[in-house]
């Protein structure tokens, strides 16, 4: 029987550096000092089924960055969503990585029908960028402060 994924779980995704490192806008202001990913960081390649992510229950943000040899000091960051708060039209499917131990929490955000620009835009607006402190400190299975606190 395949493993189920709970709506109470959180999923995370690597976000490439934004300003000032390479000056492209993959992160923007959300609310107060909270930031979010932009749509450009959450697009699918032609023919791709879903957006690669990881379950915080099994993969920590720091591990997620380390999988590809990067860290927050390189300007990389991590976006997070609570599954129950994903925009309408999306689901999360567990998709083991190859090899499986590369990313034990690998999953995909998939469209129920089509990954429209509306869904992509809403997914970006629903995201939150983890603070550097959270990226460094959250362990697999931890529950982050939710909803995120703004100042």
């Amino acid at each position: 029987m395949s493993e189920e994924i709970s709506n109470d779980e959180f999923i995370i995704r690597r976000i490439p550096p934004s300003r000032p490192e390479i000056q492209l806008d993959y992160v923007t202001i959300k609310d107060g000092d909270l930031k979010r990913a932009t749509s450009m960081a959450l697009s699918l390649r032609t023919g791709e089924n879903g957006l690669s992510c990881s379950r915080l229950r099994k993969t920590s943000p720091k591990q997620l960055l380390a999988q590809v040899g990067v860290s927050t000091s390189d300007g990389w960051t991590v976006a997070i969503w609570k599954i129950s708060e994903l925009p309408i039209g999306l689901k999360v499917k567990i998709t083991p990585s190859t090899p499986p131990d590369l990313d034990p929490g690998h999953c995909e955000i998939r469209p129920i029908d089509t990954y429209t620009r509306k869904i992509q835009s809403n997914l970006a607006k629903a995201s939150t960028i983890l603070s550097v402190e959270d990226i460094e400190s959250l362990k697999p299975g931890d529950i982050p402060t939710w909803p995120p606190e703004k100042t």
Partner: protein, 147 residues
Amino acid sequence: MSNKIPETFYGYQNPISPSVTESRSPGLIRRREPPTWFHLATEKLQAAATLQDNWDSYGALRTNSLSLHHAYLFLDCICRTVGVSEPLIAVNANGNVCFEFEQNSTLELEVLPSGKVVYYFVDRNGAEEEGEIQSPFKDVLDRLTKF
């Protein structure tokens, strides 16, 4: 999908609306000086040109040079003809340059290698529109070069 830009395309001003150019004195087109963010925006496009395959670590494609070319033209056009605020600029997973304008409304644009621009627009009341425009800046450039 619509192929006509709505009047409220940017929420506050549609750069390609006839009203933008026709309101000027007959026979005289005054090109605006580029806004202060123009230089930064061109630097972003230069940065986009340096992206290599897998820049997002999930298999994204490097920046498409044709998309980049059209993005430069589009940027130059909107900078000089419309008083828009600084857009967010980045490349998507297909290697196409994208612009995102957000004030009270949201406008997201993807510049395709063909020169078409695909847009998603949400106005301040939440009304949405998706569409595709062929050569979105051609009308504006034509008007400018006829004088």
